[in-house]
Symmetry: C2
Subunit: 172 residues, 2 copies
Amino acid sequence: MNYKIRAARKEDCKDIARMIMELAVFEKMPDQVNISVEELERDGFCPNPFFECLIAEMSDEHNSKCLTVVGYALYFFTYSTWKGPTVFLEDLYVMPEFRGNGVGKGLMSKVAKVAKEKRCVRLQLAVLDWNSPARDFYAAKGAQDLTDSEGWHFIRFDGLSLDNLVKEAPKD
Amino acid sequence: MNYKIRAARKEDCKDIARMIMELAVFEKMPDQVNISVEELERDGFCPNPFFECLIAEMSDEHNSKCLTVVGYALYFFTYSTWKGPTVFLEDLYVMPEFRGNGVGKGLMSKVAKVAKEKRCVRLQLAVLDWNSPARDFYAAKGAQDLTDSEGWHFIRFDGLSLDNLVKEAPKD
């Protein structure tokens, strides 16, 4: 089977939403998913989109015109006040039955290429501590684990804690 | 002393660059800073800026027209494929001699307000494990430490590891 990587289009959002859920199931947090196809369409396919996305497609061996969406890489641009523009890879996913064909590596390399084209000097992502296959893959590719090496922790405000912060905002 | 918070202007970049270095010295990584005033001007004050920034100013008690830049909060918008738009607070800094006046809390609350206005349901940030005053402050405000509670680690590709990824990218 051959695979091809291309920029996502608005009509891919149904497939993307499905794979977001599949990834969340793998990450053991499916209850946390609260996003609709319409929200993905609105947030990713507007003049200043919140994210960009690459799609991997496989062609059937008997019919090269028959394409199946088998994976995605969703990313956006962040900023380091020490180094400048950075790409953050939010999601990287390949459907289990299509793994072992280099699709994941291909998606990741394409995101790295986009990063370079946008003069980003870093590609960052978050990984769960128990996800050894992913952590080993990143380490083998020369990535640093900044939580282990420098002690960085992720902090999140949401729900009530975010509302409480807003209430304390000084008047304009 | 009174303080006021306002959106940063291009001409603030000299002050921002100075405070970025002061924050990096506090974080014990001043050698990592490699950003110029010109880069901040270009990346933050263009049509689709990589970041937004709030500035805190104090007025002199004897002369209310005499304003001093004493802190900043630099943030950008990211995206959760589970929850949607998110604000990421990259830097929050108040000069040591102006602390204890609520400036840090004011800056943080203003960023939370921006988050709500842009319909973000999360405000996230990264903190160093040894920075107990900051970690205690976030915990007291109800934030979650996702590295402790869910096991998320930060991974970074840069330099050679990023170049190697790019080299493996499949052809278009």
